[in-house]
């Protein structure tokens, strides 16, 4: 298969994918109209579309979006600073790494968000709670990937540094850190995604803050089209976020 025909077949496949989503939505619309699906459980897709401008204007979606974005930003900063510093520490002192790297790995798999009542007790029902949960949820991958990146520096680069008689601080700044950056960003991206998921989730759970709270409020008001519309909005926002971080990561990746 030539690359042109492969491209054409991929485009055809994507078109079929998009068309089937539209078809499913249309089918739901028809089934609700025919009374097969209860309109009090699933609102008509057209109603959901109509609800979107309403929630954008009346529920100040953009303001809520920026609120959530700010929480994610603060959590990200904390994750980057603390995670990279701890990663460097574990790399620099080998016994520390041997002792605690597996623990950090276990932390990465631990259901941290379940501790949100604990954060509520300590930080109150506030932005701090939300940011801290995002921070705790996204920290481990950054630590692990920083260690991995630093430890994976090619030996020849380290030898070059040695032959220039770099001090250990120079060696770190000029050789190890640049070599580790791609891996660090892989970790950061994972950490940011975890932080974002948990921040929106906790906003919903504790009914406080930006987009997550919006969904909770609309659901409690039993505003069905609004709830579905808001969920759609959050999904779109997180897909955009996901895509953006992927682009940044690809941009930073060295050319092989």
């Amino acid at each position: 298969m030539t690359s042109a025909t492969r491209m054409a077949s991929r485009n055809r496949a994507r078109a079929v994918g998009a068309a089937s989503i539209v078809a499913v939505v249309a089918l739901v619309e028809v089934l609700i109209g025919a009374g097969v699906i209860n309109a009090f459980v699933v609102p008509r897709p057209t109603q959901i579309l109509l609800a979107i401008p309403r929630i954008v204007v009346e529920e100040h979606v953009l303001h809520r979006f920026s609120q959530t974005a700010q929480e994610v930003l603060w959590a990200s900063l904390l994750i980057a600073v603390v995670g990279i510093a701890l990663g460097m520490l574990l790399f620099r002192f080998r016994p520390l790494r041997l002792a605690f790297e597996t623990w950090v790995g276990a932390l990465a798999a631990a259901p941290i968000v379940l501790m949100y009542p604990l954060f509520l007790v300590i930080f109150g029902r506030s932005t701090t709670t939300i940011v801290m949960i995002g921070f705790a949820a996204g920290l481990a991958p950054v630590i692990l990937k920083t260690v991995e990146g630093l430890a994976g520096t090619r030996k020849v680069l380290i030898d070059v540094g040695r032959s220039f008689k770099l001090s250990s601080a120079q060696q770190f700044r000029k050789v190890l850190l640049p070599a580790a950056l791609p891996a660090v960003f892989v970790g950061l991206r994972l950490g940011l995604i975890f932080a974002m998921i948990n921040i929106v989730g906790v906003e919903f759970l504790i009914n406080f803050g930006g987009l997550g709270q919006l969904i909770n409020e609309l659901a409690e008001r039993y505003d069905l089209p609004g709830t579905y519309g808001a969920i759609l909005f959050v999904i779109l926002a997180s897909i955009l976020f996901f895509d953006l971080t992927e682009r940044i990561e690809r941009w930073l990746r060295p050319v092989e």
Binding site: S20, P95, L98, A99, P111, L114, L118, G201, I239, F242
Partner: protein, 251 residues
């Protein structure tokens, strides 16, 4: 060399023990200092007592059973759906190009926001919690299975074809055994998020289950009990995860 290795291992354990002791001491100091509101950081003794009380009450086991059952059913529903979707997408290039992007993009969205919808569809009882768990674990299982399908060595598939295996025989005798590892990885990731999805749903709206016990302890401001429950939750979920990991390595 050997002595050296023994020395390193001793050093590692000294570090670990020192860290745990320091953490516990810092905790106890914080509890005694009165810097935070009373009871926000209960003393270790109080937490230990609460732990013993929780473990001694039949109430805990009844709620544990409810949650375990919800997670189990969620894993069956989400697991079967995820496996089927993954095999389909992994085996067919056209379907994968058409639909896999959807899976990859929906995978990392926060699932708990679907909970209000799940309540409307499946009610306020265990149904909506099972649905949350199933939706959560579907994605990692499907993604991991699809990726695993594509990593099967082509020669195995050719062997199956040359024996004229039927599609169901291909799945049973070639695909599933060759994909043991990615499937187990998917199930592990899936179980992790199913536990989170189910328990978060329980903390939001329910009258049974471990999530409910946690949020009830929070509402009554019974901090030692809440800490005890959270510790048990963590031990249980990390333990189950480790168990699956162990099973996957067994011959």
């Amino acid at each position: 060399m050997k002595r050296n290795a023994a020395g390193t291992s001793r050093r590692i354990w000294t570090l670990r023990v020192a860290f745990v002791i320091a953490a516990l001491a810092a905790w106890e100091a914080l509890a005694a200092s009165g810097l935070l509101f009373r009871d926000v950081v209960p003393s270790l003794g109080a937490i230990g007592n609460a732990l013993a009380r929780v473990l001694g009450s039949p109430d805990f086991y009844a709620n544990l059973a409810v949650t375990a059952q919800e997670i189990g059913v969620a894993m069956i529903i989400g697991g079967v759906a995820g496996l089927a979707t993954g095999i389909l997408l992994g085996a067919n290039r056209f379907l994968s190009q058409a639909f896999e992007a959807l899976l990859l993009y929906l995978g990392p969205t926060p699932k708990i926001i679907f909970f209000p919808v799940m309540i409307m569809w499946f009610g306020v009882g265990p149904g909506s919690k099972i649905a949350m768990g199933a939706v959560s674990c579907f994605f990692p299982i499907a993604i991991s299975t699809a990726a695993g399908m594509r990593q099967i060595e082509p020669v195995l598939i050719r062997v199956g074809r040359s024996f004229r295996a039927s599609p169901s025989q291909m799945v049973r005798c070639i695909y599933l055994p060759a994909m043991r590892e990615p499937i187990v990885t998917g199930l592990r990731l899936g179980l992790g998020v199913a536990i989170i999805g189910t328990l978060l749903a329980e903390t939001k709206l329910s009258n049974r289950g471990l999530g409910y016990l946690v949020i009830q302890a929070y509402a009554l401001f019974d901090m030692p009990r809440m800490y005890a429950l959270l510790i048990l939750l963590f031990v249980l979920s990390i333990g189950v995860n480790a168990l699956i990991g162990r099973l996957s390595r067994a011959p």
